[in-house]
Amino acid sequence: MNDRPAASRIPIIKIGTHLIVPIQVDMTDQMVNDLQINVLAAIERTGARGVLIDISVLEMVDSFIGRMLSGIARMASVMDAAVVIVGMQPAVAITLVELGLEMKGIDYALNIEDGMVLLDQRLQESEA
């Protein structure tokens, strides 16, 4: 994993108790798998309580990517972290609904700002 060129790694940025994952390239299946592993490792390493995945640049989400995102959400919840996906494009949203893909355990927000507010909310709720 560490010998992969930097350009093909999706960045994971820590902001407070949250992680931001901006997906800005059309991912190969290998990148998708690596991302899942890396995000979960980062949650464990940082003790993050929220993960914000920014897909505002993604023009396509197929079932493989959808499964990866669901996987992150499922495993993140086991590690007590909430997941929010932000910036889904209209064409992607429509296609996902038509694909019949159901991604459970994920929140959705319009943009990073709203997403961070949502993660803070989930954090408060879990500590209440």
Binding site: M88, P90, L96, V97, L110
Partner: protein, 232 residues
């Protein structure tokens, strides 16, 4: 008719004249056949053939007029068709307006029957506006939708689900008792979708959900309301 030299025989000049006129006739008729109707025969003699020539000229005149009339009618029809097309487009635009009522709230009043094409357009329009305006909430009002069948319901559900994936919540309002009955009878599952019977209720919900409320503000020309005595 023709001048005869000897009894029964036509003079050479007459024959030549007849030839000429018959050729002219042929040319004019050929022209007419090719839809060039602005030709006419030159009638110089005054004999039986001349009356035929005049008759043909009248015929050509009539045909000319008819053709002009037809072209005019066709042009008018084209123009009307174009007007209808323009009006259709205008109706399409009007029929799926997405209105930003205030920060973060869109209203989509749906009026008329929903077919596949129209619903697709409406869905795209709403989702695009959600992104463009950054609105987290949208009210889809179906007061003006006469019939809600499974297809319409599915389209609405698809739109609302897609908006949800984008981070916007949709409220379905304007559900009459009739439509509510239909929805139940058809076994349409609206779980997870917020529904309100009227637009007003939907607006109230949206305002509350946004952490806001509407208050009455004292008017300048009215006395301030008496302060209630503080409880001890």
């Amino acid at each position: 008719m023709a001048q005869t030299g000897k009894a029964g025989k036509m003079s050479e000049r007459t024959i030549k004249n007849l030839h000429q006129r018959l050729n002219q006739l042929e040319d004019v008729l050929a022209s007419a056949a090719a839809m060039k109707l602005n030709v006419r025969l030159e009638v110089t003699e005054d004999d039986e053939l001349a009356s035929t020539e005049e008759a043909i000229n009248v015929l050509l005149e009539d045909f000319s007029a008819l053709l002009e009339e037809r072209k005019r009618a066709e042009a008018e029809l084209q123009e009307r068709l174009q007007t209808i097309q323009r009006q259709q487009e205008a109706i399409n635009e009007l029929s799926t307006p997405v209105i930003k009522v205030w920060e973060g709230l869109l209203v989509l009043p749906i009026i008329g029957t929903l077919d596949s094409q129209r619903t697709q357009r409406m869905m795209e329009s709403l989702l695009q506006q959600i992104v463009a305006t950054g609105s987290k909430m949208a009210i889809l009002d179906i007061t003006g939708v006469p019939v809600v069948d499974t297809m319409v319901a599915n389209h609405l559900i698809k739109t609302i689900t897609a908006a949800g994936l984008m981070g916007a919540e949709c409220i379905l309002s304007g559900i009459s008792p009739n439509i509510a009955q239909t929805i139940v009878h058809l076994g349409i599952d609206l779980t997870g979708i917020k529904t309100k019977s009227t637009m007003m209720e939907a607006m109230r919900y949206a305002i509350r959900a946004n952490g806001q409320k509407i208050v009455n503000v004292a008017r300048a020309d009215q006395p301030r309301p008496q302060e209630a005595p503080a409880d001890e």
